[in-house]
């Protein structure tokens, strides 16, 4: 099957509706639960509402889509003659990828590829993927291109507290203690989709400085970059970070994006950071 690749992703990508419509992207929602209340992310709970509820001390939980939901989505796309590239939130943070993989097994052909992303800025992969698909690239071409981007992505951020990662079992208790003291912000990266603590800072200023440092060190060519600044509840530090990134690097793309309720549940309020790759990795697109 050539051409006509359908991009499937999940709600943690927090895509704009216009983007979804433009490329015909299928978005499988994850769920956020406040006690008995169940919300579909991006459908019936928005970020503003979500963060104000956790700031009031409510403790949410999340659930990823089941195998069945993926089977339905895949069936629909395959039925219309498309092949599928399914791009999802890191498997270290969510079971979404596992559900997608299980669903794929129900289909005998090779027309579904699944990408376990390495970043919390999923849009950085999904939009270029959709763009490539819209240019009539084959599934293999789009898949190779996105895999390359995925390997080139580097994501860093500063947490206000490790409490949320700890609560979700995504980091050990000993390390979580550190975050609770003296307003220390752990600086972390998502490498191979896994949370790694790289350093710590007490002030936003120093956290930004550490992140700038980490971006420099992880740039191979020193050329221009494509970056997305992400944040959970508070965009103030994110804006400062964006300005500093803009001042220190040549940016072809620099946007601000609020992290949705599901990832917000795991990393907590006050988080800000960025995902970036060097722009040269996007060149595969025009070939």
């Amino acid at each position: 099957m050539s051409g006509n690749v359908r991009i499937v992703t999940d709600s943690t990508a927090t895509l704009e509706k216009t983007t979804i419509d433009k490329y015909g992207i299928e978005v499988v929602p994850l769920k956020v639960l406040f006690g008995e209340e169940v919300f579909n992310e991006g459908v019936d709970i928005g970020s503003g509402d979500f963060y104000s509820r956790i700031s009031r001390g409510e403790i949410p939980t999340t659930s990823h889509p089941g195998e069945d939901e993926f089977i339905d989505v895949y069936k629909k796309s395959l039925g219309s003659g498309s092949s599928i590239l399914s791009i999802h939130t890191p498997s270290k943070l969510s079971g979404t990828v596992d559900a997608a993989r299980a669903a794929r097994k129900k289909f005998s052909n090779e027309a579904i590829e699944i990408i376990d992303s390495r970043t919390i800025g999923l849009g950085m992969l999904v939009i270029p993927a959709a763009e490539a698909a819209s240019k009539g690239k084959s599934l293999k071409q789009v898949n190779d291109f996105v895999q390359n981007l995925n390997n080139a992505i580097y994501t860093v951020g500063a947490l206000n507290t490790l409490e949320y990662l700890k609560r979700g079992g995504r980091i050990g208790t000993a390390r979580a203690l550190l975050g609770g003291m003296l307003r220390i912000k752990p600086i972390l990266s998502f490498e191979e989709g896994e949370v790694k603590i790289l350093g710590k800072a007490r002030t936003t200023k120093r956290a930004i400085r550490s992140m700038i440092d980490l971006v420099s060190r992880n740039m191979k060519s020193g050329e221009s970059i494509h970056a997305v600044i992400v944040y959970t509840s508070d965009n103030g530090p994110a804006i400062s970070l964006r300005d500093e990134i803009d001042r220190n690097f040549k940016c072809d793309n620099l946007e601000l994006s609020q992290i949705g309720p599901v990832l917000g549940t795991h990393i907590g309020p006050g988080f800000f950071g960025l995902g970036f790759y060097e722009s040269r990795y996007l060149k595969g697109l025009s070939k």
Binding site: L182, R183, L198, A201, R202, T203, K205
Partner: protein
């Protein structure tokens, strides 16, 4: 070598001295310093209880004397070597350190001498002055260095004037040193404002006077510049708060004549960590006290004293090592800290060891070196956390094979922020520069009570008044009301770029009072982040860091 008679001596008698006399001469200097140490402490200009200049010099020279080998056959050079070595290892505080450098200069100039004559001594004093000056990258006038130079000038004058005996030489030296000391207020504004001479300089003059006294056969030391009774008392008071419960005293009483309970009650008035254990007809007693002699006297009334042991805890190892290992580049961070809350905080933040010390009890070179040697890591970062520790700490690098980086953090909050910036994945050089940068960006407000009436930067300060200082240098505010003093101090600092205000309250401060103070600061600056920490530090009722 001409023998020295302790009593009947004429000035012109003593032409040379050997090792034994040299040791005795410095011991006499030590006695003189002992007599004058509290007066020297009292004129330490800053109105905070860091009046420890005399104490530091005394501890330094005591360490020098203790290092002299009793039994060996003594040449002058061998004794001088021991003195220099002992002084360096025991050096505390800036003036103690500079004294050790002075003695080191004297040692290197007399390195091959069996005995020391007039020319040798004159040369040694000049070399001492040079060595002390060379130890500082930016030597300041109006300090101990000025007095050392005065002594060197006196030595030169004496030689020119044909002085033929050591007592005559010392007379020149003392005379010129004193002239220089009296000039120090003209050279340093802070001294002039406070109406005092430099304390370190005075300490050095006392040492010269003691040396002269020994050579002249005047064995009884006297106070050369007694300060007012009130100042003297204020300073001893401040010193005592720190010295509390120094001796770990343990004894056993056989067949006590009063009950264990009665004894416990009595002991509680004399110190802390009181344990009275009864077994058979014996009592085991343990107490931390400043007055072991008093305990011994009591004990004799209570029954048969079987064993009595009293150890100076300050002389014991003053560092604790925490077993948690470091990962990454395997670098140990050692912090000098004061107050149990501060020790705990440094430890929690990842310090491998903490050394007790800081204000009024600067750790010695020896203590710091021991701590550096004791940690298992080969690479060590040392956080000084007090400006009077920086100089002594800077010497440790020469005394250890370990790779050592000394961070000149001037206050504990600076050290804490530096420690937060420590990254186990980076090497020692990178850590050093980043941690130092972070430390330097932290402003510390120190709140304490003035121990003496004085003027600082033209603000009159009364004894007992609360004062707020910025980074141990600038007086920001003074007054009686804590809230007003702190808010006044904060209003004098540019706070626009400040994100976090951390209030560390001291051992003498009530937690509720600290909470109330925090609320008033918050009320004034609601947009900042706040943290309240029980630092339990002595001397400073509050340390407030702005970053």
């Amino acid at each position: 070598m001409s023998r020295v008679q302790t009593k009947k001596r004429k000035k012109e008698d003593i032409l040379t001295i050997g090792g034994k006399e040299l040791g005795e001469m410095f011991d006499a200097a030590r006695l003189w310093l002992d007599k004058n140490a509290a007066d020297i402490d009292a004129i330490n200009v800053f109105p905070v209880p860091d009046g420890d200049c005399g104490k530091n010099m005394l501890l330094t020279i005591s360490s020098a004397i203790e290092n002299i080998d009793e039994n060996k056959k003594k040449t002058a050079s061998s004794v001088m070597e021991k003195i220099a070595q002992g002084a360096l290892m025991g050096a505390r505080g800036n003036s103690g350190f500079l004294l050790s450098q002075f003695l080191e200069g004297m040692h290197s100039s007399t390195a091959d001498k069996d005995s020391i004559g007039v020319d040798d001594m004159a040369e040694a004093i000049s070399e001492g002055a040079k060595k002390a000056r060379a130890a500082l990258s930016e030597p300041k006038e109006g300090t101990i260095l000025t007095v050392a130079d005065g002594a060197a000038k006196g030595a030169k004058k004496a030689i020119k004037g044909g002085a033929e005996s050591l007592p005559v030489l010392m007379e020149y030296i003392v005379h010129e040193a004193e002239k220089s000391l009296n000039r120090t207020p003209m050279l340093l504004t802070q001294l002039k404002e406070a109406g005092v001479v430099d304390a370190g300089g005075e300490g050095l003059l006392v040492i010269f006077t003691g040396m002269k006294g020994y050579l002249e056969g005047k064995v009884r030391p006297r106070r050369i510049r007694p300060v007012s009774k009130r100042e003297y008392e204020a300073i001893t008071r401040a010193g005592r708060a720190e010295m509390s419960d120094t001796y770990c005293t343990q004894l056993m009483i056989d067949k006590p004549v009063i009950s264990a309970n009665e004894i416990r009650k009595r002991l509680l008035k004399e110190g802390s960590s009181v344990i009275v254990a009864e077994s058979d007809s014996k009592l085991r007693i343990h107490i931390h006290t400043d007055y072991p002699d008093k305990i011994a006297d009591y004990a004799r009334e209570w029954g048969n004293v079987k064993q009595f042991r009293s150890e100076n805890m300050k002389e014991q190892l003053k560092y604790s090592i925490y077993p948690e290992g470091t990962k990454g580049k395997n670098i140990a961070v050692i912090a000098i800290a004061q107050g149990k809350g501060m020790h705990k905080l440094f430890r929690k933040l990842g310090a491998i060891a903490t050394v007790s010390g800081g204000q009024t009890m600067n750790p010695s070179v020896r203590e710091l070196r021991e701590a550096v040697e004791a940690v298992p890591q080969k690479k060590v970062i040392l956080l000084t956390n007090n400006k009077n520790v920086i100089l002594t700490a800077s010497r440790i690098g020469d005394l250890t094979d370990k790779e050592l980086a000394v961070l000149s953090t001037k206050t504990m909050p600076q050290g804490i922020s530096a420690l937060v910036a420590f990254n186990t994945n980076e090497d020692i050089e990178q850590n050093k520069s980043y941690m130092q940068e972070v430390a330097d960006s932290v402003i510390t407000i120190q709140v304490t009570s003035a121990v003496r009436d004085t003027r600082v930067q033209n603000i009159p300060v009364k004894e007992g008044q609360l004062i707020a200082l910025r980074d141990d240098e600038e007086l920001l505010a003074a007054g009686r009301d804590i809230k007003r003093v702190v808010l006044d101090a904060l209003s004098k600092i540019e706070l626009n770029n400040i994100e976090i205000i951390t209030v560390y309250y001291g051992s003498s401060t009530d937690k509720k009072e600290a909470g109330r103070l925090l609320e008033s600061i918050k009320g004034k600056y609601p947009e900042k982040d706040y943290e309240l920490v029980d630092g339990h530090q002595p001397h400073y009722s509050y340390l407030i860091s702005l970053e």
